[in-house]
Symmetry: C2
Subunit: 402 residues, 2 copies
């Protein structure tokens, strides 16, 4: 296609944009700006014990297992709360009380959770500037036969590092241990194929790459691991085993589900499928060098000099941690079939032009957090670029970084 | 007012009715049918680290503490998940590991939660057909000085019993112990005055009497109890102390909040205030004999002969556990200033007439769960009234019961 031709899909990114002009565009890693169709699904109330709602639960769970190709081996257990609630529930339910967990560490807090749960945990540090090394994981497992599980973060948000999941999975399987994957910021965007990868458990949430609204997480686990998990949990509300048993028996969640959040995820998954699923959503990401992919998923736009600086991401003012949603970018790209950013001159209608147009149309978040940003700046803390920065600068970083 | 005069407020109950004609009306104890304004608040996405969202959090927390008149002594900590998550978080955080909890038991599951948490708990059983006796609670506390806390359910949903909170609070205070109240099905409808009642902690959720959508709970606790709670929690996600510290420091929740659920609760609280707050919402309830109030809050309509039968409520098909929302009833009544149901002849525009009109206008839930109801009936289980029963019968029970 000619880049100068008016792009019939140019409006698609704005369809996902806020309902009110003054609202900022929300970006990865989330919560994101959601589509109008997703939000509209919340305009209906659901009886949480109703057959119609049970059907909604079953449909969402089937979709989620399907995205990871786990139909033959895995089941999906939805859980109230943020993604962290699901990570804690998975660790607390699936790791026996006498288990020992290896945590390849480039910014994860699995170790901290395990401390609460009273499970033995050992960290394998990789700093916050390089991905987990599968060979090092394998050596650690060989050296300590007491380790029963490995807990890996697929794409570590705080350090923007994408870890080599397939290779780690093979290493863990060779050593006969079990792998629990926190796929929070990547699920639905980067492929996880449970037919080919030996992974016991995958955890993610409604409000990230799947573009639902926040309020629930889910755990995709093997039936065998769940069957063996009776009585492991340290918590009533976070007992995934009980949640699974109850779900099988009744089609319902044990305690009141976030009905509207589930309805929104259901709508969002329908759009995800209609737009081509993981294949389409991951298209642009696959064109980036692997070392850039974690970055694209978690730190848009990035600050120069801050990449790999560790947990800085969550301390950055929103103007800094944000950028145009990589989701919106990828979706727009999938629809418009534009080539990704490559440094060539950009004609009206192509991606950088759309970014600037978006900038002009929407109040930028940085203009809102101004007072706080200035205060932090005055205190010598963070983001040396000054307060109230306009979108143009983040976009420039974003373009540079990609 | 003349009952035969056309009631200008007769449409108010329909304002709270479903967006789609075919949708059933959802009833107490919840999730309930919410107002259009409440649902519409979810048509906007929020940045969870944004100043504007922080203001929303602060406003909701202030409203919630205000409903219980706890401004001088208590703070509100919101938490992801259903109400049960907040109950577990409160018990796990506020009861020290060496604490011992007395659970006045007429259907509660505090004892079960405490089993998970490893806290010592002792039940004081009252069966499921009579309220907790404050004198018995006081005797139990006198007999066992090791008990540090009492965990009381204000209105026990499974048995439809309203427990005498003010009297229990005084008894607990006289014995120098601390009181944790699960006020899930009553908060916002029955008064809790923290200026007058010695209560350390009150727990409730977004989707019950406050008529928000489900997805978050909240704990209203004294500052002193929170300050003393460092390191108590068995859980990372459910650590209320950490959530409180983080909230004070940043104005934010520790992990991704259910942004849309909070926005809906914010909208719902604005309506609650505008309609006269607890005073107006509790008006009809106060006209009922105290022994009927728990019933009105939790089992509309009731099945004759099943009152006090214990946990039957949650096993009943929805057509049976439902009825017109007591919320909608109370609100309608507050607005229309009708006298409650008293057996007299009802003229067009009064409450029973409106119930029948609602029945005609909305598909009744019983017609949906027909197959299941018939199956259960064929198996000799539950609700002997047959399947697909029309609203008129539940209404009749409801009228009889009130």
């Amino acid at each position: 296609m000619t880049q100068s031709r008016p792009d019939p899909n140019v409006s698609s990114v704005f369809n996902a944009a806020p309902a009110r002009r003054a609202d900022p565009v929300l970006l990865t890693p989330g919560p994101l700006t959601t589509s109008a169709a997703t939000k509209s699904a919340m305009l209906r109330d659901w009886g949480s014990l109703d057959d119609a709602f049970n059907a909604l639960i079953a449909s969402v769970c089937a979709d989620l297992v399907g995205i990871a190709h786990g139909e033959a081996s895995h089941v999906c257990i939805p859980l109230q709360g943020s993604g962290t609630f699901s990570v804690e529930a998975a660790l607390g339910t699936l790791v026996p009380r006498a288990g020992k967990v290896l945590v390849p560490d480039n910014g994860a807090y699995c170790q901290r959770i395990l401390g609460y749960l009273g499970r033995e945990a050992v960290a394998l540090p990789f700093g916050d500037d390089r991905p987990v090394d599968p060979a090092a994981v394998e050596r650690a497992l060989q050296a300590d036969p007491a380790i029963t599980h490995v807990a890996l973060v697929h794409c570590e948000t705080s350090a923007s590092i994408l870890n080599p999941l397939p290779e780690v999975a093979m290493a863990v399987a060779r050593q006969g241990r079990r792998l629990i994957v926190d796929a929070m910021s990547a699920f639905g965007m980067l492929p996880i194929d449970l037919r080919a990868m030996p992974i016991e458990t995958v955890i993610a949430a409604s409000g990230k790459c799947l573009e639902g609204v926040p309020g629930m997480g889910f755990v995709i686990a093997t039936r065998a691991s769940l069957e063996a998990a009776t009585g492991n949990s340290h918590s009533l509300a976070l007992d995934l085993h009980d949640q699974w048993i109850y779900l099988q028996k009744t089609g319902q969640w044990r305690f009141t589900p976030p009905t509207h959040v589930l309805a929104a995820l259901h709508a969002s998954l329908a759009q995800y499928r209609a737009e081509g699923g993981l294949e389409a959503h991951g298209a642009l990401l696959r064109q980036l060098p692997p070392a850039r992919r974690g970055h694209a998923l978690t730190r848009l736009p990035a600050l120069p000099g801050r990449r790999g600086a560790g947990a800085g991401h969550r301390h950055l003012p929103h103007a800094r941690r944000s950028g145009l949603s990589v989701q919106a970018l990828l979706r727009t790209d999938a629809r418009a079939r534009l080539h990704p950013l490559s440094g060539e001159t950009h004609a009206p209608g192509d991606l950088p032009h759309r970014l600037h147009r978006l900038h002009r149309r929407h109040r930028w978040r940085g203009d809102r957090g101004g007072a706080r940003s200035r205060r932090r700046h005055a205190q010598g803390k963070r983001h040396p670029d000054g307060a109230g920065a306009s979108l143009s600068r983040p976009i420039r970083y974003f373009l540079q970084d990609l």
